[in-house]
């Protein structure tokens, strides 16, 4: 379909891939196949363009002569297709002018192997007799394009040369060869060729000038070329003439018309506006058929958008663009590694486990309540018996903690002229323990007559200080405001502790529960010489919270110079504070924790106190607690053993 010459045995076109041979040859097309085969045979028997001479760059005369010769062969072949006997007679009676050309041609050496333009013309001639859709001039245009592509002389030149070579009626002594039907148009070829002068270079052809002259014409005067639609009416010759075709094309029109009429004679059984089956099979329908069925002109929609708005019969771009088609973008596929897959599986499993309903735990409230009451009863009885009955009695500890001696010695070495600051940083709930634990420590200091100042970072601490110091104040004759003062509450938490360590007088402005005659707590005999924290002889923190001890170690210790920091702790807070005490560079100089240590302290003091008073109750309660723990361990072991043993 593209006009490219192909070998006779080729099934498909090497250029456009169009099928050259019909897939299904029906009996009705047998006749047309016969004449086509004959044409092929003749084409094969005739000397090739290469062998016949005439290179691609041959002289115009030679080319024209050659073209005229081939063209005459073509015409004779086509005529022969229409009537075989007439063709044979015409070959026998070769005119003189044609004989001269053949002789001249035989003398010429063979040229290039490139296909001559006449092949393209022959192909166009083959298609023109049977195809009514393309106009004859279209086939010739295709031939012209093919010739331009092969650097061959333009077909019009070849035709013009052939026309010039062919003698006119007046010059032809014998006239047209016998057996060849000469149409009126054919008769006009030499005349038209003589009348039409080839366009010189730089000079527009007449048809182009005619088009330019008609630019100002009205739209109605423009030639109307219907779309290439099967069934559409073929334009009349007059209309084709109005198209302004070039003159050289007009020269060959009669030839085409003649060939077309000859082909029509040979295929008169073909219905008009239909293609023979073999040609229908050759058409690359899928390639050229539009996806949009073109409707009749009356039904064609008028373009509403774009530069073609208002025109009807145009190909609508919107349906084509909007038609769904396979995306050219490849689908996104996750590149998952094995590790990622394993993690995804793990996450999936976790989510699945979360979605599973946990089995209901059987209620054991009654059982737990019984155990709770039983344990509480045991502990209460164990605590109450020593207090009420005085039995059982437990021996006082003979061993004392290793750190107790250091603390006792530290207190013994404190100078009497420097006050000791005691910080009561615990809540009332721990007063029962810490009063007993710190009693011996306070007893030792107050027994020595050390001036004391108390304070607290908790609002309730000041009151607890009064309660804790009350027994020793009375015992050792301490006078409030003179030998002992209560600084009260230090508000501000850790920040206030640092402020107090830097400048105690700015941190606490007024004491707690001081006598009325005391105007300024810092002017009392106890705190008169205190400007900074290091002016105290010792700082002791009594607390049940390891956090409070850590705050004093972190915030106050750096401003205490050589003043020792001692902590009295609840038994539960000792493990977290002990590292500050057992290091080589000890932040805490002394530690006292637990009732056994307090009892040992009282033993060192030689004066019984609250620790020894509660020692029996504490011992009995600890014994009961240990028994309960052992019972629980035995209970668990029994159930564990029963669980292991097969039923």
């Amino acid at each position: 379909m593209c006009g490219t010459p192909n070998h006779g045995d080729a099934e498909e076109c090497t250029n456009c891939g169009a099928r050259l041979k019909p897939l299904d040859v029906s009996g009705s097309s047998k006749e047309s196949e016969d004449w086509l085969d004959r044409m092929r045979e003749e084409a094969e028997e005739s000397p090739s363009p290469g062998s016949s001479g005439g290179s691609a760059s041959a002289e115009p005369d030679q080319a024209s002569t050659e073209g005229a010769d081939d063209f005459s062969d073509l015409r004779s072949a086509e005529t022969g297709g229409a009537g075989g006997s007439e063709a044979e007679s015409s070959e026998e009676e070769v005119p003189e002018w044609l004989q001269r050309i053949r002789e001249k041609k035989a003398e010429e050496p063979s040229g290039s192997d490139e296909p001559a333009p006449e092949d393209a013309l022959r192909a166009a001639a083959r298609a023109s007799p049977v195809s009514e859709d393309p106009a004859p001039e279209d086939a010739l245009r295709a031939a012209a394009v093919a010739s331009l592509a092969s650097d061959e002389p333009a077909p019009e030149d070849a035709l013009r040369a052939a026309a010039a070579e062919v003698p006119s009626e007046a010059e032809q002594p014998d006239g047209p060869p016998e057996g060849v039907e000469q149409t009126p148009e054919e008769k006009n070829i030499p005349e038209q060729g003589s009348e039409t002068e080839p366009a010189s270079e730089g000079e527009s052809p007449e048809w182009l000038e005619a088009m330019e002259s008609e630019d100002g014409a009205s739209e109605a005067d423009l030639p109307h070329v219907p779309a290439l639609v099967g069934g559409a009416e073929e334009p009349a010759d007059e209309e084709l003439g109005d198209l302004g075709l070039p003159d050289w094309l007009g020269e060959i029109e009669p030839l085409e018309d003649e060939s077309a009429s000859t082909a029509q004679e040979g295929s008169s059984d073909l219905a008009p506006a239909t293609l023979p089956n073999w040609l229908e099979a050759m058409r690359p329908v899928d390639t050229f058929r539009s996806v949009v069925e073109i409707e009749p002109e009356d039904d064609q929609a008028v373009e509403s958008v774009g530069p073609l708005a208002g025109l009807s019969g145009v190909l609508l771009a919107e349906p084509v663009v909007a038609m769904p088609r396979t995306s050219s973008v490849g689908s996104l596929q996750l590149d998952v590694s094995e590790r990622q897959y394993a993690q995804a599986e793990l996450l999936h499993r976790l989510v699945e486990e979360e979605e599973q309903v946990a089995p209901a735990i059987p209620k054991r409230g009654v059982r737990l309540a019984v155990f709770r009451w039983a344990i509480a009863a045991v502990v209460l009885v164990a605590v109450s018996l020593p207090i009420i009955t005085g039995a059982p009695s437990f021996a006082l500890p003979s061993l004392e903690p290793r750190e107790l001696g250091a603390l006792f010695s530290l207190v013994e070495r404190l100078p009497l002229e420097q006050p000791v600051l005691v910080v009561f940083d615990y809540e009332p709930g721990y007063a029962g323990e810490l009063e007993a634990v710190s009693g011996a420590f306070l007893d030792q200091m107050m027994a020595r007559g050390l001036p004391l100042a108390s304070m607290s970072t908790r609002p309730t601490g000041s009151a607890l200080a009064l309660i804790a110091l009350a027994p020793f104040v009375d015992r050792y004759g301490y006078e409030n405001g003179q030998s002992i003062v209560n600084l009260g509450y230090l508000s501000g938490g850790q920040t206030a502790v640092q402020l107090f360590a830097i400048n105690p007088r700015e941190a606490i402005l007024e004491g707690f529960a001081l006598p009325e005659q005391v105007q300024d707590v810092w002017e009392t005999p106890v705190l008169n010489g205190v400007e900074v924290l290091s002016d105290f002889g010792m700082v002791a923190v009594i607390t049940a919270d390891s956090e409070s001890a850590r705050v004093w170690a972190e915030q106050a210790r750096p401003n205490m110079a050589d003043t020792p920091l001692v902590v009295v702790l609840s038994a539960g807070a000792e493990p977290l504070v002990r590292p500050y005490f057992e290091g080589t560079d000890r932040t805490i100089g002394g530690i006292l924790s637990g009732l056994p240590a307090a009892v040992s302290y009282e033993l060192r003091n030689g004066r019984p106190g609250l620790a020894q008073e509660r020692w029996d109750a504490f011992g009995s309660a600890m014994l009961a607690a240990e028994l309960v723990l052992l019972a629980g361990v035995g209970y668990g072991l029994v159930f564990w053993w029963r669980g292991r043993t097969p039923a």
Binding site: R550, Q555, T584, A621
Partner: protein
């Protein structure tokens, strides 16, 4: 024991029993005791804050300085500015004016965080790290115990093993063969056998530490319980004696 002390002791004993009634479950007596405790504590804290902090820190300086002294720069810095911050913080009470107290909150939180972090680094992190390093020196002599020789060596080994295994227990990451993420947490990855032993030893040290802390808490609680029982018994005997 005089009458006032006897009445106070009696009320305190009754409140103690009301709190202990929680043994049988949540009940009105326990709730009443809790409400009384919270109310009294809050009232006491408020009274302490007013009498020990606000009055001596804000009110008295202004009254002593008078109107003419308000222009004193030292008074402005130490009294007026804190007073303004206190007023702004007090606006937190109402939701509509709470945003004005943000300035005071920012100051409190910022200064507090700076103090805590600084103190933790200089008072805990560095000293305890150096102490742990010194503990591993067999030639060093403990100032507290004076231990040396074999005893010191054994203690050093125990401390070393305890420290390493405890740190290993809290290290949940496992070195993987993945070059891109050698220390990535691989869920479900089982730790090799020898490392599992270290982890178990660390868990043992942690369990011992928590056991000691729990034992201390139990001991403290039993001491408090003994003190409360002793107090109740003293009150009962005091009432009986006063009646008799």
């Amino acid at each position: 024991m005089d009458t006032a002390d006897l009445i106070a002791s009696f009320v305190a004993s009754v409140l103690t029993i009301m709190v202990l009634s929680y043994l049988v479950g949540d009940n009105p007596l326990f709730k009443l005791a809790m409400h009384l405790l919270i109310g009294v504590a809050a009232g006491y804290v408020g009274a302490v804050a007013v009498h020990n902090v606000l009055i001596p820190g804000l009110i008295e300086p202004i009254l002593e300085a008078g109107l003419g002294g308000l222009a004193d720069p030292q008074l402005i810095v130490t009294v007026i500015v804190p007073l303004i911050l206190v007023v702004l913080l007090f606006l937190k009470v109402a939701p509509s004016t709470a945003r004005y107290g943000t300035v005071s909150m920012v100051l409190l939180v910022g200064v507090g965080a700076a103090v805590i972090v600084g103190g933790a680094i200089t008072g805990t992190l560095i000293p305890l790290t150096l102490a742990s390093m010194d503990t591993l020196n067999p030639s060093a002599v403990n100032q507290l115990t004076g231990e040396s020789g074999i005893e010191r060596l054994l203690n050093v080994i125990i401390v070393l093993i305890g420290t390493l295994t405890t740190l290993f227990y809290f290290r949940f990451t496992v070195r993987t063969t993945d070059v891109e993420a050698p220390f990535a947490i691989v869920a479900g990855t089982r730790i090799p056998g020898p490392l599992t032993v270290f982890k178990g030893i660390g868990k043992g040290f942690i369990a011992i530490t928590f056991g000691v802390m729990y034992a201390g808490a139990v001991a403290a609680t039993l001491i408090v319980l003994a003190e409360r029982v002793q107090f109740i018994w003293d009150t009962v005997t005091g009432v009986i004696d006063s009646i008799g």
